[in-house]
């Protein structure tokens, strides 16, 4: 990945709505070069999606999120790939990571309520053949996600005019 693309990614990860023209100005580059680099990164799946970071705790129908530590038996030849796929294809599953250490997969699940998440774990996750055990941890509050702090404590406190 070259520096130019990295600079573009740095700007987009802070604000996905920046136009190619604005990015070009900010980086002192040509708009067509920025557009081309973005198109290339989209094609290569470097840029996967332009999504919105939502603070769901401020939305009325609040969601419940849990992190599940999953221990499982890897398959010959495919390791954890196919079992990870069986898990991540469920829409309830927000993220899946292969971990080093005491367990194998870390699965983030989102549901409408505790019952829904619990039922997903016991009916879908634990019943997968190669899954040996699961441990569920419910998230009580999100302070920071993907580098973004949810509390609004960094407001602008500057004097409006100073020398």
């Amino acid at each position: 990945m070259n520096d130019f693309k990295l600079s573009i990614l740095d700007l987009l990860k802070e604000d996905a709505r920046l136009s190619a023209a604005t990015i070009a100005t900010m980086l002192g580059a040509k708009e067509e070069d920025v557009s081309a680099a973005i198109a290339e990164m989209e094609k290569d799946h470097v840029i996967v999606k332009y999504a919105t970071v939502v603070n769901w705790s401020k939305v009325d129908d609040e969601k419940v999120t849990a992190l599940i530590e999953v221990e499982c038996t890897p398959e010959r030849g495919r390791g954890f790939e196919s079992i990870a796929e069986r898990i991540y294809l469920y829409p309830e599953v927000k993220s899946v990571y292969l971990m080093s250490g005491a367990y194998d997969l870390l699965v983030e699940i989102e549901g409408k309520n505790l019952k829904e998440v619990a039922s997903f774990v016991s009916n879908k996750l634990s019943t997968i053949e190669s899954v040996i055990s699961t441990k569920s941890f419910f998230i009580l509050k999100k302070y920071k996600q993907d580098g973004i702090i949810f509390e609004e404590f960094e407001d602008d406190h500057r004097l409006l005019v100073s020398p």
Binding site: T25, M26, D156, R158, L159, L160, V161, S162, P163
Partner: protein, 415 residues
């Protein structure tokens, strides 16, 4: 028992003043002589409308909060009870860090033991330097438009500030000719502030060489306010005036942590120079200030570590991106804007509107809800310009540019 808030507030009778003219007649002539800050009037005007949705480009400080690792270092020092005075010249560890930093960044060598003093912001450094150097009648040369305090402090000391006008056509750099024209036998100190607040001008090595020659010729002392040294975006890395051949001894370098390290509220700066000047400044500092805040000094040490410097670099890159955005924005809406190569200000010309900068800034505030500082407050050559600080979020900057553009179009329609 009566609680404090229940005590009736009765004004006590005061012994009558014997001088006619009220309390003002007790004020020292030099305190009365300094003019009120031109920025103050505008500050009051902006503050009066602060409930409205104002976007302010009138600030003079970073939009970043001090990096957490730096704040954390100060918090930790408080937890450990480091709440005492520091040595007058500042914590030795900080002075050593500053020495190392100046050497790495600007190829300057100063002895932490006797060529350096830690001050309460760059501001105190300027005050101390002028107090150590200026006697009544001495002339202080100040290229303008300039940061505000140099002239009033000179006036307080009985010195005579001599503004040297710089021009957009020269990118607001100090030229050999205009410096020569301003020098008299009474000239003693030349103040340089590059990168410049408010114009964003810088001076390169080649551009400073002839200035250094004149300084030597006329035996001047230079106070070089390099608070924006880190914020140099084009035209090469910043060169300190003290790094020019033969200029170290006659240059008093003033700088600090406010701008580059986003530490304005900590009030932490430093001055470096010839040991005799530093020793005189230290004497004044001992009596008036004692020492800079110890917890701020601890934070300063953290700022100069490798990770602190990385945070600084990240901030500098972000200013540069916004600099490009704002300059292009002004030019596209038809305002002439010279390329600001340093600091975090753009200084577009509003002369095409036919208004004075004060009229323009006032109407921009009231009609478009954008605050920017009218150029005339920065002295000679500032009339007809507007200081716009681009240290604000891209969203806010874009919105401010939109508003200014709409405002300009409304002026055209009014004809």
């Amino acid at each position: 028992m009566i609680k404090d808030q229940e005590k009736p507030l009765v004004p006590q009778a005061q012994a009558p003043l014997q001088r006619s003219g009220g309390m003002n007649s007790y004020l020292a002539a030099h305190a009365r002589a300094i003019p009120p800050s031109g920025i103050r009037r505008f500050f009051d005007l902006v503050n009066a409308s602060k409930d409205k949705d104002i976007i302010s480009l009138g600030v003079g400080e970073p939009d970043f909060v001090t990096p957490w690792r730096v704040r954390d270092a100060a918090v930790h020092s408080l937890e450990k009870g480091k709440t005492q005075y520091s040595p007058n010249a500042g914590l030795l560890e900080l002075r050593e860090s500053i020495g190392q930093y100046l050497s790495n960044q600007f190829q300057l060598t100063y002895e932490p033991a006797n060529e350096m003093i830690v001050t309460v912001g760059g501001s105190e450094g300027i005050d101390l330097a002028l107090r150590a150097l200026i006697e009544p009648g001495d002339e202080v040369l100040v290229p303008e438009p300039s940061y505000l305090p140099y002239s009033p402090i000179t006036t307080l000391l009985g010195g005579i500030p001599v503004g040297i006008e710089t021009f957009a056509k020269d990118q607001f750099k100090l030229t050999e000719e205009s410096l020569r024209a301003a020098i008299t036998p009474k000239s003693k100190v030349l103040i340089l502030c590059y990168p410049s607040n408010p114009t964003g001008a810088i001076m390169t090595y080649e551009e400073m060489l002839p200035i250094a020659k004149i300084v030597e010729e006329h035996d001047l002392i230079v106070i070089s306010d390099e608070i924006y040294a880190e914020l140099t975006f084009t035209g090469g890395k910043h060169v300190s005036f003290a790094a020019l051949p033969g200029m170290k001894d006659r240059t008093l370098l003033v700088s600090g942590f406010s701008k580059a390290f986003a530490m304005t509220g900590w009030r932490l700066g430093y001055a470096c120079g010839h040991r005799d000047i530093i020793s005189a400044m230290l004497k004044i500092h001992q009596y008036t200030i004692m020492c800079a805040s110890t917890m701020a000094q601890v934070a300063g040490i953290e700022s100069l570590t490798k990770s602190g410097m990385e945070e600084k670099d990240r901030m500098m890159e972000s200013y540069n991106q916004r600099r490009r955005l704002v300059v292009k924005g002004f030019r596209e809406m038809g305002l002439e804007c010279h390329e600001p190569q340093g600091a975090f200000y753009a200084f577009p010309s509003i002369q095409a509107t036919g208004m004075t900068s004060e009229q323009f800034a006032e109407r921009l505030l009231l009609e478009a809800n954008v605050a920017a500082v009218p150029g005339h407050v920065f002295g000679k050559g500032g009339e007809g310009f507007l200081r716009c600080c681009y240290a604000t979020s891209v969203t806010q900057l874009t919105e401010a540019l939109d508003r200014i553009g709409t405002f300009l179009r409304s002026l055209e329609q009014d004809g």
